[in-house]
Amino acid sequence: MPDAMLELEGLEVRYGVVAAVRALDLRIERGELVGLIGPNGAGKSSTLLAIMGVVPVARGEVRLRGVSITGRAPEAIARAGISLVPEGRHIFAGLTVEENLRLGRAARRDANGVEADLRRVYGLFPAIAGSLSRQGSALSGGQQQQLAIARALLARPDVLLLDEPSLGLAPTVVESVFAALEEVRAQGVTILLVEQRAQVTVSTADRTYVLANGELRLSLTPADANDTARLAAAYLS
């Protein structure tokens, strides 16, 4: 089997004595969009933060293109090609939109092609292009989410991790965010999408895993998107 783009093997994340994620195996091939859903406290954010090196990996391994990145610093992991759109967006409110975007370039491996990448994210999110000189804090919630995604894309990542990008957004804005993600995926970026909105995630992603209590419970395909019983069971399991 060739190396997966991103692979988790026996991942365990602990906060003190509490295990937030247990024995998690996950394999994502190049160009896939994989969903990860589950109730509050299931360990979704912890999984992404462990991949990113923000919280320590207690056990197991994280591999990028077959190479272990376990234990590396977040900045090293970002530079290796993984970008995170964190839960709550974490826009720099006191910096301008343009500065936020410039920060996104910190992890770029090549300085070439910045202009083309900028045009691409402006194409995805025209509202961002129109507010470059505004403070991050002046943007609406939806615009901030777009900015967070745009910022992550400017690192030109191989893998994009998103933590609940639809949180707190109006339905039409959610649609536009998901449309943007499909476009990003079409451009060849591998995506791991953490969400609470089960249905739209299951129907958008190639595969969606259900996480509960730190363990993988179920794997769903787009065909399951309208199977409400199955989705409900996923949450209650």
């Binding site: 900045e75 970008s83 995170l84 974490h90 920060l103």
Partner: protein, 294 residues
């Protein structure tokens, strides 16, 4: 001395303290660490000037910058970096330890009596500007202080490392997730704060030529008082606070008779207490901000 003249002197001392405030504030911004050993960097620079007193001033000053910046980077590397994950209290105590260690070394090497630096003693001379007798050092302090502050502002506002520092100062974790290198940003903060400390060494020893092992202590404490009054969370208000404390100190010192001067520090601290009672977040405080570190 005329009031105008006293004002000019006060502005000059204010700009020196503003430099110290920025030096402390830059490191605080990225590490959430009040570096009490900052004054000992200034002292190291002053002793360097004394050791090299027989060499041309340019050489002594360049060496002063080299020594202070190296020491600043060294402290970051050997004392503070290993403690970065420690509690804030541990780190704070570490800076006290470093401060005392350096003072003891100065005491052992140079003794307690003090050494007189005269590197730029010529700057003590005054020029007559329309009836005002202004010493050169006042003009030089003002000019250097402004240039360094503007330089720091440009560095922070216009360069990529400056942007990374500002991002790290507001949300270090997110900055790192975006690829900002923690070690590089922190080392850079220590580098710039070292440059500022070296500048203060040069400017300060012209005004107060006697270098003692504890030269840096009151400078740090006064600047810190200013920084706290200004509000630690924003660099430019901290700078204003530093300036204000230097300004107030100089002005009050001028107004008080020789004997009353003994009470000057108490007077300044009294003022500070009043300010903090009225405005607990500092003179220029905005919204309180959460404290986070790497």
């Amino acid at each position: 001395m005329s009031t105008l003249q006293a004002l000019v002197d006060a502005v000059a001392l204010g700009s020196i303290y503003a430099l110290v405030a920025v030096g402390i504030g830059l490191v605080f911004g990225v590490l959430r660490l009040i570096n009490f050993a900052y004054g000992e960097l200034i002292t190291a620079g002053a002793y360097t000037l004394w050791v090299l007193r027989s060499l041309p001033a340019v050489v002594a000053i360049l060496a002063c910058f080299a020594v202070v910046v190296s020491l600043s980077l060294l402290l970051e590397r050997v004392a503070f970096r290993p403690l970065r994950k420690a509690t804030p209290a541990t780190m704070l105590i570490a800076t006290f330890a470093v401060s005392y260690l350096l003072q003891s070394i100065y005491l052992l090497v140079f003794g307690s009596l003090g050494n007189s630096v005269s590197t730029l003693a010529g700057l003590q001379q005054a020029v007559d500007l329309g009836g005002l007798r202004i010493r050169w050092i006042t003009i030089v302090s003002l000019a250097c202080g402004s240039l360094l502050l503007i330089g720091t502002a440009i560095l922070l506002g216009r360069t990529s490392i400056g942007l990374h520092m500002r991002a790290a100062a507001t949300d270090f974790q997110t900055a790192r997730v975006l690829g900002v290198r923690a070690n590089r940003v922190i080392a850079f903060a220590f580098l710039v704060s070292g440059v500022l400390a070296a500048s203060v060494s040069v400017l300060f020893t012209v005004q107060n030529s006697l270098v003692t092992p504890d030269l840096g202590v009151p400078i740090t404490i006064f600047a810190l008082v200013g920084v706290v009054v200004g509000g630690l969370d924003r660099l430019w208000t901290a700078t204003l606070g530093g300036f204000a404390i230097g300004f107030a100190y100089s002005l009050l010192g001028d107004k008080l008779s020789g004997e009353a001067r003994v009470y000057l520090p108490s007077l300044v601290f009294g003022l500070v207490i009043v300010v903090l009672l009225l405005r607990p977040g500092g003179l220029f405080a905005g919204q309180p901000r959460s404290v986070e570190r790497v």
